[in-house]
Amino acid sequence: MKFFSRDESPKDPLAIKTTQRETIRIFWNELHLLWKALLVICLLAILAIPFYGRAIRAKNTRSYEQDLIAARQALAAGRDVEARDLSLSLLRRIPNNNDPLPLLMHAAAGARDALLVPVARRYLELDTHNRPDRLFAWKTISNESPMGIAAHIWFKDIGEGEKTDPDFLIAWVERLGNENLGHEVEGILAKQSGLIDPRLERARLTMLAKTGTETSYRELQARLFDRIASHPNDGPLLIDAIDEIPQSALIPYAFIGFGDWLKSRGGEPSVENQLRLARCEIVVKPETTEAVVNRMASAHGASSPLQLAKFYQTLDRHGKAEELLKPLVAKGDPEAFPIMAGILERQARLEEWDKLLEAPPEGAFMPGVLCDRAFIAWKRGDERAKAQFEQEALILAEKRLQNDFLIQLARRASVRGMSDYALGIWVKAIRIGPSSPLPLFSSISWVFETLARDKQENQLADSLTVYRAVEPGNLDVVTQHLYIACLIGNVTPAQVLAALSPVREKIHSQPLDFTIALANLLEGRDKLADELTGDTGIDWFSQIPAFRAIRAITLTRIGRKEEADIYMEDFPWDRLLPCETRVYRELLEPPKKSSEPGNAEKLEKAEKAKIAEGVRQAQKAKELMEIRKALEAKESGKSEEEKIAEKAEKSEKSRLAEQARQAARAEELKAIRERLAAQAAKEAAAKNTPKTGEPDDVKKIIEAGEEKNPKHP
């Protein structure tokens, strides 16, 4: 097929010159229709591609922005689930774009979604600058994530400027306060220069009240009245700290300081402040107590019964407080309920307390109420009711209306002295893992100790695994986790060594050394284990039994079995975990030769060598047989008499040689005996002490000589 033709004729000088345009036109006209169509399509495609890309991008952007606006609108309208789903889809659409992250964070918070904590953490890790969002994220982390993770983020991801920002600081201080880490709070407050933010000052006053000593109460009041005297405007935020001071710890100056502050504020003081002032007045003028109490009762008895009941309670007038609280409790007042419960508990009126708890007001912490009812049942000896209430409390808490319900319940059970119940709840709370506000490992180390004492090794291992994720920098947690995980077979000894050996180069501790030693023993490196456990300064018999066992295993492995037996005398096997007992017993048991063929390669080699040796022996025997046959054939020429004569000659020669050797030996012995006797006589003469018999060394030498030269029969 001819698609196009070209003029192949030689150039004619007279031919009319064609322009470039005409050439193209001619080329186009001569082009086949198919090529023309293809060219047009290609040109159109080249022109369309950039436009198409742009159009797609524009469409995507428009759709993205529309969805972003829709998500914002949904969040503003309180449709949190819709906002969460939209922002999640936006994040998935463009993975590296983190713009929808704060949106997702707020939506997850509104929808009470478990995504909240990880999203907040991710947002803080990013180099973001939106203060409200960062503050929201930090408050979320501070309130809802484990203490170890919160501390890690505070020191790593929170900027230096934010660390001095009171809004950020107060969230952190409150968390530290909740975890009873008073020293940490004091450390942070000591670093503050200038005038401390009143919220931080309030946190300090709470910490002082929690300390609960006479000195701390004095310091609290000194700080409080000093601050409100110099900065009266901070008073409303700080003054309720007086409620945390018991009546007996109030100082007389409180009346003056508080009165001055009220005067400086001007106007009519609130009911609460009037009652506080009355408390201070009673301290200054104890003789007027009844008058003051009656005055307050007549002034506020009808209008503010709850406040007056609290006032009575601080003065230990529980009867009057109870009278005021009863109608309020009947109405379902949420504030009156815990005060009333506290009064009944203090007076040990179990039946009335239980009756009160039967109908808690709305908003009460129901797992806590049921825990209290279980406590009452326990005190009344009703084990069945106790178990029932405990179960109900646990079921309610596990529904996880809030992340910390289980933790609150565990703490309540600990306070009530129901330690077994508290332990079970703590284990459940730990299993929830990083999405609940777990305390520091050191705060609940008793949980781990109890699990170890109760030999619940699987629960112990699970709990340590969670805590290793929550507090990755805590060496105690890492060591304990790897020790248990190795013993129950969750990690291999090689993994233990890989994780702990680099740490051991910098830090030395007995648990660390013994864990590494155990891993080395399991890996067959007995000398390294000996180096790690060979500290002579250790009082082995007052140490953890596991250390003794590891030392004994090391000694057994390096061949000092007798010493190992001393370490294992009266060993308290019942104090070890089942996995420890299992592994240590296996390690202490010497290998049986019959059942322990050793390394496969070695055995194979030994087997091969045995076979080869057999073959060699057979060949040698064959050769010897041949030589013997040849010799026999050679000697067969000699006569029998000659052979007998030769044999007799040989035996005679050997006998004579033996006799000569015996005689020479006897001569030698005689000479030695004479020399030693002479030496002994000389020594005896020198000492003037006559000796009888031969000296011991002489005897020895003679005996040795006789042994070497046995007498022939």
Binding site: C486, L487, I488, G489, N490, T492, P493, L522, E523, G524, P578, C579, T581, R582, V583, E586, L587, E589, P591, K592, S594, S595, E596, P597, N599, A600, E601, L603, E604, E607
Partner: protein, 232 residues
């Protein structure tokens, strides 16, 4: 029908018959020597031992075996051992190869376990009474306690059988063509084949697992000698 015609008809059949007879004679040599075979009785003396016949019946048809049992022993406080003892008696090439074919990584993988580490083979016993154990550490995909799997194949007349290596010289189980040639060449028709597979849990190292397994289970293997029929 005369004899010539009969012979003529038999001519094409004869080579076939002859080759059948020769191949039968080749693959069924007369047993002249005494031989031994192992048996592992169920460990009923151990109070923690629990047999699981229903599990054995489930796999029995798949592996075309004669006898066997599955079971487990050990409590929470002691070493746990899961056992499988499979017997093929009067074997053919087909079901003997079944013993070699099933690799632990396949069946354990189906149970959500992955191989974490392989160890050098372990040998128990010598000569004809030798078991060569292939050892591997398996762990659940999501992490958790590991299980040490020891598997050995014992075949009568084949010293040191190991299903990871060549079964016969130049023949592996994966290479069926060579395997068939090797079976014919070496007149491979073992009388008895055994598989012993054990999963040891609760110990942190392969050495300890082997120690416990070789102490608790392997000495309980019983050996029986079979003498050839008396020849007149």
């Amino acid at each position: 029908m005369n004899l010539r015609r009969v012979i003529f008809c038999l001519v094409p059949v004869l080579p076939v018959l002859t080759s059948e007879v020769i191949s039968y004679r080749w693959m069924n040599p007369t047993i002249t020597k005494a031989y031994i075979y192992p048996t592992l009785p169920q460990l009923v003396a151990d109070p923690t031992f629990k047999s699981t016949p229903e599990e054995f019946n489930a796999i029995r048809s798949k592996i075309v075996c004669s006898e066997g049992w599955l079971g487990k022993m050990g409590s929470e406080n002691s070493v746990g051992i899961q056992l499988a003892w499979i017997e093929w008696n009067g074997t053919e090439a087909r079901n003997t190869l079944e013993a070699f074919r099933h690799k632990p990584e396949v069946c354990m993988g189906a149970n959500g376990m992955k191989v974490e580490q392989s160890y050098p083979k372990r040998i128990y016993g010598t000569g004809e009474q030798q078991f060569v154990f292939d050892t591997k550490l398996f762990r659940p995909l999501r992490g958790g306690p590991g299980i040490y799997i020891f598997k050995a194949v014992w075949v009568s007349g084949l010293i040191g059988a190991n299903y990871r290596d060549e079964i016969l010289p130049g023949a592996k189980i994966d290479d069926l063509r060579n395997m068939r040639f090797a079976i014919i060449k070496h007149r491979f028709k073992p009388e008895r084949t055994r598989v012993l597979m054990a999963g040891v849990t609760g110990l942190p190292s392969e050495e300890l697992a082997w120690k416990a397994f070789s102490r608790e289970i392997l000495p309980k293997i019983q050996w029986t000698t079979v003498y050839p029929p008396a020849t007149h």
